[in-house]
Every structure is written in C-alpha cells, then in structure tokens.
Symmetry: C2
Subunit: 144 residues, 2 copies
Amino acid sequence: MKKEQLYKFVSKQKIAFISSVDEQGYPVTRAMLSPRKIDGNDIYFSTNTSSKKVTQYLNNDKACVYFYRRGVFRYRGLTIKGTMTVCMDQPTKNDIWRPGDKIFYKKGVTDPDYCVLKFTGTEAEYYCDFKVETFDLNKQEENR
Amino acid sequence: MKKEQLYKFVSKQKIAFISSVDEQGYPVTRAMLSPRKIDGNDIYFSTNTSSKKVTQYLNNDKACVYFYRRGVFRYRGLTIKGTMTVCMDQPTKNDIWRPGDKIFYKKGVTDPDYCVLKFTGTEAEYYCDFKVETFDLNKQEENR
C-alpha cells in the first residue's frame, strides 16, 4: 500500500470523523461531510466559525481524522494523526466554497460564520482484515 | 429527548467510534464493534489487551465515544464524553464474553489478550437536523 492509495481511499468516503482535544483534555469526535480538497498531506473541510471544534482547535491544534469503509466482506479504517489549522482568510474560503453552501452560510462566501479547517497529517494507521499498516506521511514511501 | 432515548439510540448502532489521547497529547479515533452491554452510563466493549488503545487508556483515561446514523432524510450523531477503564478481571471478562469471540481470542475467555473497556459517560451532545442538545448524564432529566 502506498501513500497515494491512502488518499484515494480518503477521497472516496462520504463522511469523515474529526477529533480535537477540549479544554479539559478530553478527546471530542464528531462527523463531518467529506473533505472539500486534498492537497498533499492537507485535507480541507468547511465548517461554522462559531462551532465548538473551531474554539477547540484554536486552543489546541492536535487533531485526528478517521475514515472507514464497511464492505460486504471486510472493514477498512484509516486513522490520520496531525494538526488542524483554522483558516479564516478569504482566499482559502473562496477556494473551498461551493454554490450549494449558501444553504448553511446565508451571507455566502464572505459569511463570518463560514471558515475552513485545514488538517495536515503526519502519521497514518490503516486497518484491514485484522492487519495494521503504519505510515510516516512525510516520507514518500510507506514506512512499516 | 430523554437520556433513555440516547441509550436506545446507542443500542441500535452497529459501529462505535472511540477516541483516546495518546502519549503526545493527540486524539486518536478508531471504530469498534457495537457495545456488548450498556448499564446506566457504562458502555462495555471487548478488545485486545495488546492494542494501542489499551496502553493509551491506561496512561490517560479521558475518552469519547461517537455513534451516528445516516438516514435517508437526516443525520444523527451522538458524542459522549467520559472516562475509560481497562478491565482485566475475570468476572468482567466472563460477563461480556460471547462464544463467537473465540475467533478473535484463541485461548477463550481467559485469554490474556482479551480484555474489556468500560466507558463511563458524563456529558453527551446529540446532533440532529442542525440542532445540538447537550446532556449532563449524571442527572436524571435532560439538561439543555
């Protein structure tokens, strides 16, 4: 398995589970719509600036994203560890925006309640058929 | 929505997403088979003693479990915050064991690589239709 295949797997999933660490040091997980963009080890999500996760990531950027696929014969899961950057700058917001987003953000692409979460992965664990493969995402080749 | 309904929702899901905090302070999320038992605010899972999550919970018991259901019309998600206890005592292991588990734990119910994770929830957030309800699980009634 190569790193490119991991991101191909990510790009096919409809739901992402993203985790932060709250003010008391507890992990907090919630589902998100699938990533808007994948660029190298950066995975972009759109979200509400007023959400608790944005506050949590501004206080502590340590993050995890999880993707899974439950097929007929096997279960595959991918945990990626990394950091989350809250992007409120207009160019990044413009880049990720889709016309349908107006349902969620009434004021459109400049809505102050619309922002972008940029996750930068450093390590990954891919689980399939009781086997776990680990990856150092900063290396070109897989690293077992 | 009452607390009992939250646990009814939990009992219907086939997959749980459980999160820990690793040695470097990063959240780590992975999927688990559905809980074996729910007793008050305690949710029990079976797992491998040798797994990384067991090491992580022994070092730091702060935990989160997430359940979701993606229906035709709506998405429902439940994040529960609490602590995880690693149970290696035989009575707890006996209580959760199912005959089919021998596929995973060759030595059966006394297999040292089989243990129980007991999650004790304290707070919950239930998401449905863009609305979030919060619950103090130590109170009898819901707490918004």
